[in-house]
């Protein structure tokens, strides 16, 4: 799980954590919010009070494996 050398070649130098962190926080939140709307909104939880989002992405929700009904 950590280091192995099955595939040979040179690995790139790691990107400094200081550079990653702001991106990770903002973009990460945005991505998770997007996934929330596809996967959970108007099912188990609800921000908007309609069923439109749920119904629109309904098939994707089932086929991506989210619990649905």
């Amino acid at each position: 799980m950590s280091q192995s050398a099955v595939i040979s070649g040179t690995s790139a130098a790691p990107i400094p954590l200081k550079e990653i962190l702001p991106w990770a926080v903002f973009a990460g939140l945005l991505f998770i919010l997007a996934m929330y709307f596809v996967g959970i909104e108007e099912g188990a939880m609800s921000i908007f009070n309609s069923m439109y989002v749920h119904e629109f992405v309904h098939d994707g929700r089932h086929l991506l494996g989210f619990p649905c009904h």
Binding site: M1, S11, W23, F31, F56, D59, P67
Partner: protein, 254 residues
Amino acid sequence: MGQLLLRGMLAGLIASLLAFGFAKIIGEPQVERAIALEGQAHSHSHTGAAETQAEHSHDGNAEAADEPELVSREVQAGAGLLTGVAVYGTALGGLFALAYAFISGRLLHLPPRGTALVLAAIGFLVLYFVPYLKYPANPPAVGQGETIGYRTQLYFAMLVFSLMALAIAVSFGRQAFEKLGGWNASILGAGVYLVLVAVAAYALPAINEVPEKYPADLLWNFRIAALGTQAILWAAIGLLFGWLVVGSRERFAR
């Protein structure tokens, strides 16, 4: 870093188009069959609402029209499916890029394309396949509306346990790396992960809301389609992201 993120999202978007193609061709017939079956059974409606706007029929199956349709089946199976998979895939690609930035050169000392592929394989196993083994995807009308909150909590609990197990396994593997070497440390890490998720899966309550005498082939085909959709998504993200990250000279080298 911004470049990396954009590449991740691009890889995710292209991958989601492939996954959409598979879901559309292989998955949708199962969804249609499940909905037709729901119409015949008349057991419960999706939303529990009354038969008010229920003029629209599911592919000529008039009995299926016992629920109000905000979005027609055609849109759900076309634009809706595409949007859902594309948004999910693009976001997944972005998160993939973030994870790649964290582990590349730290946890994995491989060239970019190897790192991306290993990350995709681990991501698929940990974030999808293991939770799926405990709480597999179900076609429409399997699963009761009242338990959706409970089922969602359990699904995400399994997902979080799987992720925590990975973190513990990685830290075990890293500690053992000096003493045991790469291969053995990796096997130890994998073993630790498997034991932890097995315990979690055993401890969490089982859910089976599949109705009596539900067609087994439909359930199997649907679950294979769902598994395939995610497998294609992850595999394509891993390969495309790696391909986009390396320089163009390396990209077409033997």
